[in-house]
Symmetry: C2
Subunit: 490 residues, 2 copies
């Protein structure tokens, strides 16, 4: 798009020179041809004036900046290397753990080394759920260890565990139809993965619904479309009106096995042992570093991901990648001397996974300046090959975001779609800040989500670099352009 416009400008000048000559000639010795030529020139002049009265299209104004950012992002594997170092130096960064706070210290120190401005940690008190020792064992019809992960927030079992007969159900309806048989049992929700949204409800609400039916514990089939005997953790909830029972995930392989055992008429006995506990809230921080705007430093594009992770794997995809690509995007602006009109604030929110305290604390700490937050951008879907952004905001804002998106078409990341944002920016989006969420190829995201397999090798260095480029171009243009995306209707 940008190239076409440049070409038309180049061709405009010979035409204009010829036309000025026509006007002068017409003043001296007019004829019809001259009058026609002069009229054409005046019309062209009007068009030119109209173009100049409004800013040039975004794609035209920011083509060069976009090229420079993209070129710099794709020049090396710096972002991938940084994800590797962050995730391998500190491991999983679970809320309430020293790993998380050490990782935050390191990010702050590295941001300073990078020359980022206003680098700081903003205090947040976060929940501290501790998994402790845990296991599930098939006792009948034969003994076998069942790889498992307790679900975040679950209570413990008694020290010797709970040994109970298992009732396998495939859905809420199936539980309802068999609720008379659930009393005193361990209910296994074996709902095959369809979409995350449709399947995660058994993780979120399984303990409540199983307890309502009289179950003593509940298990779920891990929420994911593919498994190599891989349990997935994730948050769960209780209901104040219902007795709390322990809740854990087993692998899809073992869930299917138990379902077949039940179908074959075999009695299934499982012993579940969990020592999970909720400790007092612990201090943590939202990690922040900025490039301060050259003209409107008080206006802010906030951009990032969450610095915490679950307590398994290394949280590379979820969401070290999100923090690092935002951070790298701004590092490149510093390096290239591309200082935007407004401030871009990189944030690594804390405690997204089991509390969203970081996102809420950011809203509370920055409430007074949220009307000067022109956009919020989050990457929390894995830094796989980027496709563009999902946008939540006004129609006018959407049209502008699409113009910015056109700058990303050259790397296949220009698709701006309706709807999107992110958990951490949700609280400020609700207060009117337009939100964008990075969209990527999500084919394998739920293979690794909340598992031991979420490690940096699952990310491709070139894809990660493309994500840096995509975040850089979007944030730079939103922070620099004279227009804004407007406000969301709260």
């Amino acid at each position: 798009m940008r190239d076409v416009i440049s070409m038309s400008r180049i061709f405009f000048w010979p035409f204009s020179v010829f036309s000025v000559f026509s006007v002068v000639k017409a003043l001296i010795r007019p004829n019809d041809m001259m009058i026609l030529a002069a009229r054409n020139f005046l019309a062209a002049l009007l068009i030119a004036l109209r173009l100049d009265a409004q800013p040039a299209p975004i794609a035209q104004r920011y083509g060069d900046a976009a090229d420079r950012l993209i070129h710099a992002a794709l020049a090396d594997s710096a972002a991938w290397n940084r994800i590797a170092e962050l995730t391998e130096r500190f491991g999983p960064r679970f809320s309430g753990t020293p790993n998380l706070e050490r990782a935050i210290d390191w990010v702050l120190a590295e941001m300073k080394k990078d020359g980022m401005q206003n680098v700081r940690g903003e205090p947040v008190m976060i929940p501290s759920w501790v998994r402790g020792a845990e296991s599930a064992e098939l006792v009948e019809p034969r003994r076998q260890n069942l790889p498992m992960l307790g679900l975040g927030g679950s209570i413990a079992t008694p020290p010797n565990g709970i040994t109970a007969e298992v009732l396998v159900v495939s859905s809420w309806d199936d539980l309802k139809a068999n609720s008379a048989r659930a009393q005193g049992k361990m209910v296994l929700f074996n709902a095959p993965f369809t979409t995350y949204g449709a399947t995660v409800q058994y993780r979120t609400n399984g303990a409540v619904e199983a307890a309502k039916a009289g179950a003593v514990a509940s298990l779920i089939r891990s929420v994911g479309p593919y498994s190599m005997r891989t349990p997935h953790t994730g948050g769960t909830r209780y209901d104040t009106t219902v007795r709390r029972i322990p809740h854990a995930a087993i692998t899809t392989e073992d869930a299917d096995m138990l379902a077949r055992m039940q179908a074959r008429g075999e009695k299934i006995l499982v012993r579940l042992t969990m020592s999970a506990q909720m400790l007092p809230d612990a201090p943590s921080r939202n990690v922040i570093g900025e490039i301060v705007g050259r003209e409107k430093p008080d206006e802010v594009v906030v951009m990032g991901g969450h610095i915490d992770s679950w307590d398994v794997g290394r949280g590379a995809m979820d969401d070290a990648g999100g923090v690092v690509v935002a951070w790298e995007a701004v590092r490149l602006m510093h390096k290239l001397g591309l200082r935007p009109r407004r401030t871009i604030r990189v944030v690594g929110w804390t405690n997204e996974e089991n509390g969203l305290r970081g996102g809420n604390a950011y809203r509370d700490a920055h409430r007074a300046e949220l009307n000067r937050h022109v956009a919020a951008i989050e990457s929390d879907g894995g830094v796989f090959k980027p496709a563009g952004f999902g946008f939540t905001g006004s129609d006018a804002g959407f049209a502008i975001a699409r113009q910015v998106g056109s700058l990303l078409e050259r790397i296949g990341a220009g698709a701006i779609t309706r709807g999107g944002g992110g958990a951490d920016i949700g609280p400020i989006m609700q207060l009117g800040v337009p939100g964008l969420g990075l969209n990527v190829d999500g084919t394998r995201y739920f293979w690794y989500h909340h598992t031991e397999a979420d490690t940096v090798d699952k990310l491709d260095p070139h894809d990660v670099a493309l994500c840096v480029a995509t975040m850089a171009v979007m944030s730079y243009v939103l922070a620099d352009m004279e227009e804004t995306l407007g406000r969301n209707s709260p």
Copy 2:
């Protein structure tokens, strides 16, 4: 091929009737046309006689039987269900464990129920290596559990484990170049997966080579092209001339991480704890069931896989599938009343994985009748979508096997290639028995090989049914045809 030949037979008869008439007429009142026609008839008769002097092509003789076997195999998911039941009822079937012997008892009982003949377990003494409790922990630069599997046959560490600095090498050459630094260290062989053959050498010989360089323990990057933090076990060996050191596999993810830590100059300390021990040999059995030949019961096509597995996962692909598809193939012959001229003997060899005692014991127990073994067929590459067979034998035998293969082209499993067989039939192939190994789509075989992820869900019921059909057609025709594949040169 079969259809074309049938058509030519049909058209042959009107021509022949006409020609007999010509001969008779020529005898009564000869003329040139009649003489020509009579000559044509005699020539055709010669061709017909020559055809009848040799058997019709295999593809022609066995087209109907192949169709019936294929149709029966593809009619349901019986084979997949049987793999599920075998693997889930008994779990992994490791040599020396009650699981294996219970599974053998069950297979024998089921074979009898199926109406198989001469069902029996033939005694074999097998090694009994016991893994025991084991773990690997990264101690420096930070603490983290390293998912691991000790390698079959490894010795234990002292009870408190071995804590040592890690030296990461990428190859034998890299170890050689850094052997001065290996003294007292734990060597990690981090050789990326290329082919199984090229990579498995570090599992097989790593402990010996590391010990030669003075290492106190050795680790390998798991042998596989893809990982979800999945350690792979497998056999290893020692050398009587070198000190034995413990040998274990960690995940590809963690091997890469340790390599990057070393590249970043970090000191890596790992604590390896293994309590493996070798118990006295234990009694086991090769599982056998037959369909006895109708004409030459003493001549045998032997066919199967191995009934044992490693001690992790459920050994569905490796190799419950191999045993079950051979068994199902013969069950279908019984069911269809397709009794071949010779005996087909289904064998589930024991202890393929860590000793090959079953294959060797079969050779020893059947040495006297091996010259009447017309073929040996093994499935031990996973029962994924079948492609055909690899054949080891004479040129004449290969040509015949290809003719049988043509019967499998209709299900895409007709490719007969040079070379192939199987570990269990290796000992009898060495004594002259022509060998065939089922070839399948091996794309994901080494994803699951010797891991917790080797479970029945990795197999597709239709693919498994195609494997049954492929084994059934090949074994039936080899057992029934008048020809034989000849002998291998021992």
